[in-house]
């Protein structure tokens, strides 16, 4: 495998700066617990253990509601773990401001993170008052439309190449008893789908204006009105989905019960597991085939301030291990996400992942909404869109008005 030799070569050339001078057990908490995720974490642990330290795993499933309060309690309770995962973005802002988290600027400068981490916005999200507080490890993008080739064949129409064709094909799908668009019942799925529609239809600049600058006028304006029109289409097309979990919705696409689904790149794992092949069994359209842009949300590790000096040293080793090219390749291949460094090669990636890498290389990226908005605004958005998608009597105009209100009060 040329990938492995390449990784090995990198591992040799990039010597670990701090080596195994001190050995310590570090407890690392995260919410990666499914099969693929756990395998990916194992790569991180293996790399860290190889430095002579020991990774003590503290996995707690269920990101938002479950794992985060536990992590926050541990940190504020005065019994912190040595490192913890958060979605990078604004989730840990306050812990940093309260002086509970460790400043990684020294090691970041030493290892030139600003040069190697691509896109630069990832590191920006870790930076508060000019200091770096987290190490990003991967990129997940939301902007994908997954289509079932079999469903379209059954309906007697060609597999669409973009959102408009998809909307046009919806009546044929419905006639064949197929739900055109699967949207699971959990609120975050509806909100996520809307964000994807926004980039695809209103474009990158409007997206940035609304979510980045919190421009209330733009949010109430005609560009976003178009997005709400599309969301109205999506709502009509999603009628009859009747499932909760995103992967149940993905399963509808896999089995041809649904025409398509708007979901992040993690949906790919489901297709792979069902033995389906990109191109022949399913089709992936980044940016809904309209506007090939992907968002660069993802995960990052934060390091609470520890009293134990040995452990503090080991934290630095861990931070540098996470960004090591060999670790990045091994981890992201298992995780199905994209690496945070532009200088590693993912030869083993599949077609859809390669499309993503191309877009990344071209720099057609936006920041994820987790990075741009506070969790509070995100939650309000979820409430709005889950109501919108479930309630046909809510007009797009009303929804837009409420949307603009949320943007106006966002911080």
């Amino acid at each position: 495998m040329n990938l492995r030799s390449f990784a090995a070569a990198l591992a040799v050339t990039v010597a670990l700066p701090l080596g195994a001078a001190s050995a310590a057990d570090l407890e690392v908490t995260h919410w990666w617990t499914s099969g693929g995720e756990a395998a990916a974490v194992a790569e991180l642990a293996k790399a860290f253990d190889a430095t002579g330290n020991h990774w003590v795993d503290g996995a707690i499933a269920g990101s938002g509601g479950t794992a985060r309060p536990i992590m926050v309690s541990r940190i504020t309770g005065g019994d912190p773990m040595a490192a913890t995962q958060f979605n990078h973005g604004r989730q840990a802002e306050e812990l940093v401001e309260a002086g509970l988290m460790r400043d990684l600027t020294d090691i970041a400068t030493k290892e030139k993170w600003t040069e190697i981490i691509k896109p630069a916005s990832l590191l920006d999200s870790c930076t508060i008052d000019g200091k770096i507080y987290c190490a990003p490890v991967n990129i997940h993008s939301w902007q994908w439309l997954w289509l079932s080739n079999a469903a379209f064949k059954q309906a007697g129409v060609d597999v669409p190449k973009n959102w408009d064709e998809f909307v046009a094909a919806a009546p044929a799908l419905e006639k064949a008893g197929i739900v055109p668009l699967a949207v699971g019942g959990q609120p975050w799925q509806a909100a996520g789908a809307f964000d994807v529609l926004m980039v695809a239809i209103a474009g990158k600049d409007t997206f940035q204006k609304v979510f980045g600058d919190k421009d209330e006028e733009a949010a109430a304006g005609p560009e976003i009105a178009k997005v709400f029109k599309a969301a109205d289409d999506a709502r009509r097309m999603s009628k009859g989905t009747n499932v909760q979990d995103w992967n149940q919705a993905t399963n509808m696409v896999i089995t041809g019960k649904a025409g398509g689904q708007i979901m992040g790149d993690w949906a790919q794992g489901e297709f792979q597991l069902a033995g389906q092949k990109a191109g022949t069994d399913y089709t992936c359209l980044p940016g809904l085939g309209v506007n090939e842009v992907i968002s660069t949300g993802g995960d990052a590790f934060y390091f609470p301030l520890l009293k134990d000096e040995e452990k503090s040293k080991a934290q630095e080793v861990l931070a540098s291990t996470l960004l090591n090219p060999a670790t990045q390749v091994a981890f992201n291949l298992k995780k199905g996400s994209l690496p945070v460094r532009g200088d590693v090669d993912l030869a083993a990636a599949n077609d859809c992942m390669k499309k993503g890498l191309d877009i990344l290389a071209k720099g057609n990226v936006i920041q994820g909404t987790d990075q741009l908005l506070s969790a509070d605004s995100q939650k309000q958005k979820e409430d709005l869109f889950s109501e919108f998608f479930a309630n046909p009597s809510m007009t797009p105009e009303d929804a837009q008005k409420r949307f603009a209100d949320i943007i106006a009060s966002a911080d």
């Binding site: 509601g65 985060r68 802002e93 812990l95 609120p187 009747n242 969790a375 479930a390 309630n391």
Partner: protein, 302 residues
Amino acid sequence: MAGHTRGSGRPNQWLRNLNAKLASIPMILTAVVIFLGGTVWTVVYSFTNSKLLPRLSFVGLDQYERLWAAPRWLISVQNLVIYGFFSLIFSLVIGFLLAALMDQKIRFENTFRTIMLYPFALSFIVTGLVWQWLLNPEYGIQSVVRSLGWTSFAFDPLYNSNIVIYGILIAALWQGTGLVMCLMLAGLRGIDEDIWKAARVDGIPMWKTYLLVIIPMMRGVFITTLVIIASGIVKVYDLVVAQTSGGPGIASEVPAKYVYDYMFQAQNLGQGFAASTMMLVTVAIIIVPWAYLEFGGGRKRA
């Protein structure tokens, strides 16, 4: 309030019941430090704009204004009222009827009781999923009935905004009635056999004996059960999360879920505390006068 006695002077007043007072120290500490202290703490922080961490930067009533303007909160309150009303009545009625049935000296009592109680033992994270499947129109009960030939049969409570809260009720009763039955059974078993004999001699029909004699005698058990059911209703959360995540849309949201979602997912502690304060105030308005009548008033021996 034990301090009151100090003022009244007599030293033996203090020492009277000393053992009982000593034994009650854990309870007093819990009541004052944790429940009262925690509540005051929560109320204070509900007037702040605390986000991820509690911070004392006051914003007046902002959190409450936002709360009562949120459509989701209004629907949550409405759902709780409907759910609470039916859940309370059905739990009590079904629980009591089952207990009365079980009290007929039947065979396999232990088996039946365990069957009715087992849902209580299972984590709702997964049993919620099973109910999701059972109530799913495509592969649950509806599809089975339809495949039997009754093609117009419709039963999709979890996917219909108007009745979704009743869908949740079905699973809630499944989970909770076993415990109510158990409590009622313990109460029934405490009734003297002689009462039954007397009723039989007087020729009072069985249902009348239950209604007029037995139930009044089980007052204590009913009160305990009522508090257990009611506190479960106010705190209902897992059930909703596991079955609908509050959906379709926001049609099955409940207040406790609003509190947790805003505290932990939205990282807006202030908003979550404001919502929980509203819940607590409502509970306290109902409970405190009632509890005083019930537990105060020197009705009991001293």
